[in-house]
Symmetry: C2
Subunit: 249 residues, 2 copies
């Protein structure tokens, strides 16, 4: 009998060319598929909720796959975590209806972006935060961030890449954009019904231009209104970004 399973994944993206299988380097999806195929003894295709880029991490990526192979969930999880390299871990596994789809059924996602604000970088955080070396006016950053919350056309913050997202609907709702202080820095928590390609990193790059005084916070509504990628700032580096959680109804 065909069954579908949902996985919750943690990974350190440092050494991978992102989530999605591609010809030019090792990806998270590829490693997971390879190990699952060994455990289940048939080719396994694993579909993720979000295609994280090179160097981006996850604390709660979700994915699904189907199999007709009877299995005990705890045993599968244990075998997988034994076979997987230490920078990829499966945290949870549950059986889901065959209609479930890791990406299409998601109703909301949370990304965290970590900024390190001390003048000298802590080397143990260099792979997991962005070191902000310019001035960082947190209150200007907070004002700018507040303009992004709500339902907007985020075309100005979407890199098109090879995914053609800009060609269709680019309206998204940021339900929450919180600034949380943490040791040595600041965490930006984004929750939205969906994210366009590189949207979080493009937003963070733009917010940092506000924080450094290069732009006024009040430019944000104008950037949104322009629907033009060239109006917003550069994408912030990948290593500060974590796919934190994916919600389903």
């Amino acid at each position: 009998m065909l069954r579908k399973y949902k996985l919750t994944l943690l990974y350190d993206g440092t050494l991978y060319k992102g989530w999605q299988v591609q010809p030019n380097g090792l990806t998270i999806q590829e490693v997971l598929q390879q190990k699952a195929s060994i455990v289940l003894r048939h080719p396994v295709f694993i579909t993720g909720a979000g295609r994280t880029d090179t160097g981006v991490h996850a604390r709660g990526q979700t994915a699904h796959f189907t199999t007709e192979q009877p299995m005990e969930k705890r045993r599968f999880l244990h075998s997988m975590n034994q076979l997987l390299p230490p920078d990829i871990r499966i945290k949870e596994m549950e059986e889901v209806p065959l209609t479930f789809h890791a990406r299409k059924s998601a109703v909301s996602k949370v990304y965290h972006y970590h900024l390190y604000l001390e003048s000298v970088m802590d080397p143990t955080k260099r792979l997991y935060t962005l070191h902000v070396q310019e001035k960082c006016d947190v209150s200007a950053l907070a004002t700018a961030a507040s303009f992004l919350v709500g339902t907007h056309d985020f075309t100005s913050f979407a890199s098109d890449g090879s995914r053609g997202i800009a060609s269709y609907d680019s309206i998204r709702t940021i339900e929450r954009l919180n600034l949380v202080q943490e040791e040595g820095g600041l965490k930006l928590e984004f929750q939205a019904d969906g994210f366009l390609y590189k949207m979080v990193r493009n937003i963070v790059g733009t917010l940092l231009e506000v924080a450094s005084g290069k732009r006024a916070a009040e430019e944000i509504p104008l950037i949104l209104g322009a629907r033009d990628r060239r109006r917003a700032g550069k994408a912030a580096a990948p290593q500060g970004l974590f796919l934190h959680q994916v919600f389903y109804s």
Copy 2:
């Protein structure tokens, strides 16, 4: 004129064979000396406050060196951080009296040990925490820890290594041993007037045997009294350990 400088250092010890120069691999001291010699254009010997082992990290290692080369502190610091690999950083630099000695003048040191207690490891923490996979009774651990605070002969917790420490005075005072909850785990903060070789890791290994139920907390005073390394537990893994701060009078 000969001047002496104190450095405060941060490093990720993952890729190094510890602090001290040795024939079998690259060390933090060696890299620092090599870069300082380039900047100052003469051989530089750098003395650290503590000889951290392979895989151990630092957020506040201190060190000293002397030079007759006139220099501007900010410029030296900037040049050094440009030349150093990203896993070693100099945070601060100050001129100190010629009588200052990074190790001998230290009156107190703080080490932190990070435990990760979730059932599945977060891969982004794997190089900076110890994953505790057995039961961890935090209240038993706290009771055991309380027996260690104060002035004791710590011979049972000292590995002798090649340093011959066990051959002389092994009385130390643990001024503070706090348990602090942090995301996904627990941080043990040790402050003492000095630490014997591998003392923190030997203590943590023993505390974890108490936390898992293998020993009673009440064994700690007996282990201390025995003055016998074989009575205590195994050393905990290096990657959870950070030299956090060194105090001078």
